[in-house]
Symmetry: C3
Amino acid sequence: METLAPASTCRNARIRIATDRPTAFIDITDRLEALVIGAGLRMGLVSVQSLHTTTAIVVNENEPLLLADFAALIEDVAPREAAYRHDDVTARQVNVTPDERVNGHAHCRALLLGPSACLNVVDGKLQLGRWQRVFLAELDGPREREISVVIVGECAR
Amino acid sequence: METLAPASTCRNARIRIATDRPTAFIDITDRLEALVIGAGLRMGLVSVQSLHTTTAIVVNENEPLLLADFAALIEDVAPREAAYRHDDVTARQVNVTPDERVNGHAHCRALLLGPSACLNVVDGKLQLGRWQRVFLAELDGPREREISVVIVGECAR
Amino acid sequence: METLAPASTCRNARIRIATDRPTAFIDITDRLEALVIGAGLRMGLVSVQSLHTTTAIVVNENEPLLLADFAALIEDVAPREAAYRHDDVTARQVNVTPDERVNGHAHCRALLLGPSACLNVVDGKLQLGRWQRVFLAELDGPREREISVVIVGECAR
């Protein structure tokens, strides 16, 4: 009896989300799992990348009070009401748009949290621990947001 | 004379670690290097992903006083003794377990540090600078912990 | 009419940068885009990894006042003038070099920001949103720095 060698595969998708608050954590785990199944991925990586400078991708427990704790922590580290030079349109010399938002705090929070996560897939399953979920962290909503997903690895031939 | 084209490869492994303190940085670099050699990987990526919501994967120097400095910094940013709503079991509505730990600080620290690292391999070697080492950051120990590793790229045929 | 199946590819490169200040954000997006084109990558991942313990890779807007805001934030979180045990050469027992730098703050900042970014490529293009740029964050310059880049995925056959 012979097993066919697996074939390498590479797929991509976009996830679109309309957020409804200034700060929010939107659980995208189910959508990522559906993409892994749709790609027929057996083993490999799922790279999840936000396409914005005021959002992040984070992984932790989907427990609302915890997410509120973390929202309070980032408010403490980069307060919304602090003075950011990025928000001084009289001093700004690049990238000034007509609809410029007061969002220096959100950029700083995004820099701390990071724009992406690279997740493992084994036996066709996203490798997540019992409490792990994947979130888009909205840091300057409400906005229309977009996430790029690339899947690389082996599928069954 | 002809060189055979390399073959694409994809492998996975688990690393298990029993931690012995509340906060600890466990150097897993040697284990990752052994996995790269075992897979015969010539060039590609090693994705190292913690499967817990109160651990992280970090990369820096294995110098005990530095790691103590960093432990002090995260205690400053997310103090163990601060009030986390996640730790108020009378208010919690989801995911409450019989052995619920008081660990809001550890979740917040894990969210800041991130659950994973994606490392490069070239010429069969993990690409790390002179002082770089890879650590499991235990943030709510002592516990039994598990790390998923996926290796993708090219091996010699 | 038949489409040829794509071939899997894996390439690597190094980016070298001489930084000229203690803290700096060097935009490496154009160099990464040139590497993607040079590799003929159609779809896949670009893993960008700093090889130092006092630098990081970050993704955000290339707006000088914002980058100054973020430099101020990390100075707040891990002040240069704070007391780091890593900087006490009388207490240090490992990795002490003759030219040891006073850089505990820079290590701590690097630990918070992370050493790498994994970026998506689709249709031959680095997937970056309108304002997203990729930076080497220098945290203990001026220094000679080196970044490892590994590209995996599919190229046109």
